[in-house]
């Protein structure tokens, strides 16, 4: 036979690309295909706030030069949404009606921003920051010196907030249980961290609960956030920042276990012998905590991709996350987090 092994990676983020590079290193002859719903080659999503620092051309944020894919013999399938994975037949079906066979599958589909169900009706009026297109759209929606109303404030959102403050915009943060996600903050530490946010220039609004988002009236800022019990907050752009939920729906029915994310053992192996998972999409069994848990942040997801790739090619490595995942305050009184290192 002699046909090369086909390794398929679903997901074009830091985990997926870390995995692809490692796979190519360890097996120069295998076929590697990266599948993504997006339209662009690999860029670092954590880096998207650069859009506010004059980076409007997608070519400037690519991690690799375009020749990388040819040089490394990696096939990149863009605009390709996976609708079905059959673990037994080892096939992937796309929304565009094409079927692809894999020998080994690595799911690195990442996570999407969570939007609470009670606000789902207002999705169309809010801006995300999950992709280059969404980032540019947000940038265009903010007038010079304009204001963003951020709901929640997970570490991804707060990172963007830093850049916004730095480039002359205003940020109004409506806090809730997702503020500082994924860090878990003890009640007595909270005030200190909130103060750090204020110190960084973010306007923090505590104890209010948004129930609706509406278009602003003519002449006023473009968005109106309606609060529980009356009251409103005006701003140019509303961004939900409620942490991530894993993008695992397309794997339903494939035969692997999924709770919120894809359930994997410490070697990132799913319950299907030919399928691994890495990055924001997977929940890893932690023997010491006796539960499945997520690992977030660029360092973690990249490492997960590499470990999974090594295990796909015969290793038996256990993934170990960051030693210290705590949120801190630096000497300038600003927030510092391991999730902000990329």
């Amino acid at each position: 036979m002699g046909e090369a092994i086909h390794n398929v990676i679903i997901g074009n983020g830091s985990a997926g690309n870390g995995a692809a590079a490692t796979l190519r290193e360890r097996d120069p002859d295998c076929r590697i295909t990266i599948i993504t719903m997006g339209s662009l080659p690999f860029y670092n999503r954590y880096d998207l706030p650069r859009v506010f620092r004059g980076c409007y051309d997608w070519r400037e944020i690519l991690v690799h030069p375009l020749s990388y894919y040819d040089d490394q013999n990696i096939t990149l399938r863009r605009n390709s949404r996976v609708t079905d994975v059959d673990g037994r037949k080892r096939t992937i079906t796309f929304a565009h009606n094409e079927t692809m066979h894999y020998d080994r599958l690595l799911v690195c589909a990442g996570g999407q921003g969570y939007l609470p169900e009670e606000l789902s009706d207002y999705r169309g009026l809010m801006n995300g920051f999950n992709s280059f297109e969404a980032a540019i759209t947000t940038y265009k929606a903010l007038p010079a010196g304009g204001s963003m109303i951020m709901l929640g404030g997970d570490m991804i959102g707060l990172d963007l907030a830093r850049t916004l403050i730095d480039t002359g915009y205003k940020v109004l943060l409506l806090t809730n249980e997702y503020t500082f996600w994924p860090h878990r903050i003890a009640d007595d530490e909270r005030e200190g961290f909130i103060n750090a946010l204020k110190h960084m220039g973010i306007e923090v609004i505590d104890g209010v609960h948004p129930v609706a988002v509406e278009e602003g009236i003519a002449g006023k800022p473009a968005r109106r956030v309606v609060l529980d019990g009356g009251g409103e907050i005006l701003g140019d752009v509303v961004m939900p920042s409620y942490g991530l939920v894993p993008t695992a729906e397309f794997m339903l029915g494939s035969g692997v276990d999924i709770e919120r994310g894809m359930l994997v053992d410490p070697m990132l192996h799913t319950t299907d012998e030919n399928i691994w998972a890495a990055g924001d999409v997977c929940q890893i069994w932690s023997a010491e905590d006796n539960t499945y848990r997520f690992y977030y942040g660029w360092n973690n997801v990249r490492l997960m991709g590499e470990v999974a790739a090594r295990n796909v090619t015969g290793a038996n490595e256990t993934f170990k996350g960051l030693d210290d995942e705590r949120l801190r305050i630096d000497k300038n009184g600003h927030l510092a987090s391991p999730f902000w290192e990329y």
Binding site: E118, S120, V211, D257, E259, R260, T291
Partner: protein, 469 residues
């Protein structure tokens, strides 16, 4: 004396409006309401009676008669019914709650003995009978079915601050529609998975203050598409709560029986074709046989068993189900209907729902929406078929087919029972035996019918009908 016999009596519900309400276009409130027995013969007797003519109205009655069947004092034993009647049908459903399998601790045998713990279905039934139910601040619901969802959403409306549904496996496997789950989450209810309750935690006043769970992992697959949940050793954790609603299912009780009926492996009465049990003259139907199912299944089973009882009583089959096939002149729908999106059921806003048990969440379709939604009817009882003898293989039908629904086949498998099986597709023209419409893919768009130059595609309507023999 005039005797009227009413075979289909009814209850008339009359609303009284003020006379002045007529002719004005606005919403009117009924001032009075009353319920009376009615039906054609009954009405005749009523009129005769009011006119002073002696009359008797004979009608069939159903409903509770207040007779308890059982083996205890004051109860009528089943044997008595069997003596007095030719046939007895047992359809007592699944009214008892499944026991919560706690490992240890207080309330292990009867969790409801702890203050703050109730069985979910009983909780709801009492609420609907008019009792004032109360819940605490933090409500935990254990269970993964519609009852659990209902309990959770009712608890929220009764004023709980935090309501959490705890399930043993994962959301993927719970038998509740996605819409229901979405609405529940929208109302602020959380669903947490992979845990099984092992102990109830009680404070010094005997009131519930928490539940201890064991962490689960997913095990193998069960028959009904669900997963096994396997508890992990030493993984216990606590969730604080002051109210617990148990909705892990219902079971049948048959301890009122005084005759030994053959049981199936779940302990329910075994019923064969036509509802026959192992004892002549005793039939069983509905949830009592199958365990909790749906209203539709129960009604269907009831009808089916009624036919079975009739068959047994009369000694022959007097009614049977047939398929009626009628030709249809056209597709009966327009191609454009295929692109109508499913109409989202309008729901009341969260503000309207808050705290009100009587606010209907699904507000229903307007006439226009209903009309649009009904256009989406698949008309799946239509079957499109190509008459192979008249087909000229022009392939015009394949070219207009919106899906991969018309295929070139070498042949079609015919199964033992005469039904069509697998299609042996081919791409080589010299192997083609027929052009075949795959009715599993057909969306009844009618495009092939419209374009066929020899009119060799026929459309038939196929329906089940019941025929008296």
């Amino acid at each position: 004396m005039i005797v009227t016999v009413t075979l289909n009596p009814s209850l008339d519900l009359t609303y009284g409006l003020e006379e002045s309400a007529l002719g004005e276009v606005e919403v009117h409130r009924a001032r009075t309401a009353s319920v009376e027995a009615s039906g054609k013969g009954v009405n005749v007797s009523l009129t005769l009676h009011r006119a002073g003519t002696p009359t008797v109205a004979v009608l069939l009655l159903a409903g509770r008669t207040g007779v308890e069947i059982g083996n205890g004092p004051g109860q009528t034993p089943l044997a008595r019914l069997r003596k007095d009647y030719d046939a007895v049908l047992l359809s007592t459903g699944s009214m008892a709650a499944v026991k919560l399998p706690l490992k240890e601790g207080e309330g292990r045998d009867d969790p409801t003995s702890i203050k703050g713990v109730e069985y979910g279905l009983n909780f709801l039934m009492e609420l609907h009978r008019g009792e004032k139910k109360k819940v605490g601040k933090r409500v935990a619901v254990v269970g993964a079915g519609f009852t659990a969802l209902d309990c959770a959403r009712v608890a929220k409306r009764l004023g709980a601050e935090e309501v959490t549904i705890h399930i043993r496996t994962a959301e993927e496997y719970i038998p509740v529609t996605k819409d229901e789950i979405f609405e529940a989450k929208r109302e602020g209810i959380r669903i947490k998975g992979l845990r099984t309750p092992v102990e109830l935690l009680v404070d010094e006043n005997g009131a519930l203050h928490g539940v201890e769970f064991a962490q689960n992992r997913l095990g193998g697959w069960r028959d009904n598409g669900r997963r096994q949940a396997i508890a992990i050793e030493g993984s216990e954790f606590t969730e604080p709560c002051d109210t617990l609603l148990i909705a892990i299912g219902q079971r049948t009780i048959n301890d009122y029986l005084d005759v030994k009926l053959e049981l199936d492996r779940w302990g329910s009465v075994k019923a064969a074709e036509g509802g026959k049990t192992s004892v002549d003259g005793v039939f069983a139907a509905g949830d009592f046989v199958s365990g909790p199912t749906t209203i539709i299944s129960a009604i269907g089973n009831g009808r089916h068993v009624a036919n079975g009882i009739d068959h047994w009583l009369m000694g022959r089959q007097r009614r049977r189900q047939m398929v009626r096939i009628e030709p249809v002149e056209g597709p009966l729908r327009e191609r454009a209907f295929d692109f109508i999106e499913s109409q989202h059921m309008p729901t009341a806003t969260l503000a309207k729902r808050a705290g009100k048990l009587t606010c209907e969440v699904e507000t229903g379709y307007s006439e226009e929406l209903a009309g649009t939604e009904s256009k989406r009817c698949y008309l799946c009882n239509l079957k499109y078929q190509i008459d192979v003898d008249n087909c000229i293989y022009c392939r015009a039908c394949i070219e207009v087919a919106p899906k991969n629904c018309i295929k070139l086949v070498e042949g079609v498998e015919i199964r033992e029972d005469g039904t069509y099986g697998e299609l042996q597709e081919t791409r080589q023209w010299d192997e083609v035996g027929a052009i075949w419409i795959d009715n599993n893919e057909c969306i009844r768009c009618g495009a092939c019918f419209m374009v066929c130059p020899t009119k060799c595609i026929s459309i038939t309507r196929n329906e089940f009908v019941t025929q008296d023999l």
